[in-house]
């Protein structure tokens, strides 16, 4: 499987955020997207996820499921955690697992993997920012999708949780997954290639 982008461009509010971005990522590879604030890291991830309209260029996934779009084969972990505060931890995860995946995926193992199994019945409103992030990450483990689009995945996580997330990413790569991550710091992965976005116009 290979995700290729050629001459991607993005405009927001009539202003060009980036243009002429080309990259290719194969199974088992991670691409770290770096650049200063406003360089368009989040916009690039949202463009790949189909949440922003491309102003130009092409994105192709070779070797994926031809019936599905790239967005339908990707997990997007954005700045917002997509949690309903009125629902419990388990209900939140069960919903996303059921909605994004097929059938009734198990949620106990992902919850345990992110260390929230003891809080399964607690309303998500009582979680700290880092715990909400971890619950959001559990979604990636509960449903298998080959492409992970991560926007600042390490933010709000403590050192232990950051190491755990790095472990999840390594396992995903070992399973022939693709990761694109916007980041300022280190992802905790050795073989990360870097795509540096230019200065904003």
């Amino acid at each position: 499987m290979r995700l290729e982008a050629a001459n991607l461009a993005c405009q927001r509010g009539g202003r060009e955020v980036f243009s002429d971005i080309s990259f290719s990522v194969s199974s088992g590879e991670v691409l770290a997207i770096t650049g200063r604030n406003g360089a368009g890291k989040s916009s690039l991830l949202r463009t790949i996820a189909g949440l922003l309209r491309r102003a130009g260029g092409e994105i192709v996934l070779q070797g994926g499921d031809p019936e599905l779009t790239i967005a339908e084969q990707a997990h997007y972990l954005g700045h917002l955690d997509a949690l309903k505060l009125a629902l419990s931890v388990a209900e939140n995860l069960r919903f996303w697992a059921g909605f994004l995946g097929a059938g009734a995926p198990a949620i106990e193992a992902p919850l345990e993997a992110v260390g929230l199994d003891a809080l399964a019945d607690l309303p998500a409103a009582y979680l700290s920012a880092g715990q909400r992030r971890r619950l959001s990450i559990a979604r990636l483990l509960a449903v298998q999708r080959p492409i992970w689009l991560l926007d600042e995945p390490m933010s709000t996580l403590d050192a232990a949780a950051q190491q755990r997330l790095a472990g999840f990413m390594r396992a995903h790569l070992a399973g022939a997954g693709i990761i694109l991550a916007a980041t300022h710091g280190s992802l905790g992965l050795d073989a990360a290639r870097e795509l540096r976005l230019g200065e904003p116009a």
């Binding site: 927001r12 949202r46 996820a49 189909g50 949440l51 922003l52 309209r53 599905l68 967005a71 339908e72 990707a74 997007y76 954005g78 700045h79 917002l80 955690d81 997509a82 949690l83 309903k84 505060l85 009125a86 629902l87 209900e91 069960r94 919903f95 996303w96 059921g98 909605f99 994004l100 097929a102 059938g103 009734a104």
Partner: protein, 222 residues
């Protein structure tokens, strides 16, 4: 489809738990209906005559109450991004959200309507007609409202805009809903004709609403 089932369960659970759904709509309905006799005076004949119209109007306002949060809440917490990335068609996702909203807001109004009809001195046939027209008509109100909810999704105070956008579109539903409800109580006009048109309006809005709302949501991707 299990994805849509999961969404239906989630939305209904949130509506019931947050209390913005079923209970609030019915309470608002009750308050509006209770105000009417204070406004027009204790003239039973008059109340009886305008009763179906008042109940319909109150149901219209009550079903718009929580509608502005339908997509805005998902937009604010990032859920909408993931809903857009679903393997289920966006039109169906939108329709299921509308269905969940109707089950938690519209249906309780239909159930409460005969009780509130007593306050306005409606007799049994008039109440029956009222319940039937509301049962058929409130889904139309919700699904027309979907369009407004989708258009105003990114606005902080979308509620007012929503009302301004949606109320004019709801006029035909109101006209034929009240006409059918009145026909049964006054008895001079046939019930079937306006009721059939009401059914047609509902079927049309069930189709047009999700498509228009999905198109509006896609447009928000800018």
């Amino acid at each position: 489809m299990s994805a849509l089932g999961a969404l239906l369960v989630r939305d209904m659970r949130i509506a019931v738990r947050v209390g913005g759904g079923a209970l609030m709509g019915v309470l608002f309905f009750l308050v509006v209906i209770t105000m009417v006799p204070f406004a027009v005076g204790p003239d039973l004949a008059l109340l009886k005559r305008i009763g179906p119209a008042i109940l319909w109007l109150a149901a219209l306002l009550a079903s718009l109450l929580a509608l502005d949060r339908l997509f805005a809440a998902d937009h604010e917490d990032g859920s909408l991004d993931l809903l857009l990335m679903s393997r289920a068609p966006l039109e169906l996702v939108v329709a299921v959200k509308g269905l969940a909203h109707w089950l938690t807001t519209g249906l309780p109004l239909v159930v409460a309507a005969p009780l509130l009809g007593l306050l306005l001195d409606l007799d049994a046939p008039a109440q029956g007609a009222l319940v039937v027209t509301l049962l058929v008509g409130t889904p139309a109100l919700t699904f027309i409202g979907l369009i407004g909810a989708a258009i105003s999704v990114a606005l902080r105070r979308g509620g007012l805009l929503l009302a301004v956008l949606v109320l004019p579109l709801a006029v035909p539903v109101l006209i034929f809903g009240v006409a059918a409800a009145n026909a049964a109580s006054a008895g001079q006009a046939p019930f079937g004709t306006p009721f059939t048109i009401l059914c047609a309006l509902t079927l049309m809005s069930l189709v047009i609403g999700p498509f228009a709302a999905a198109a509006a949501l896609r447009q928000e991707m800018e």
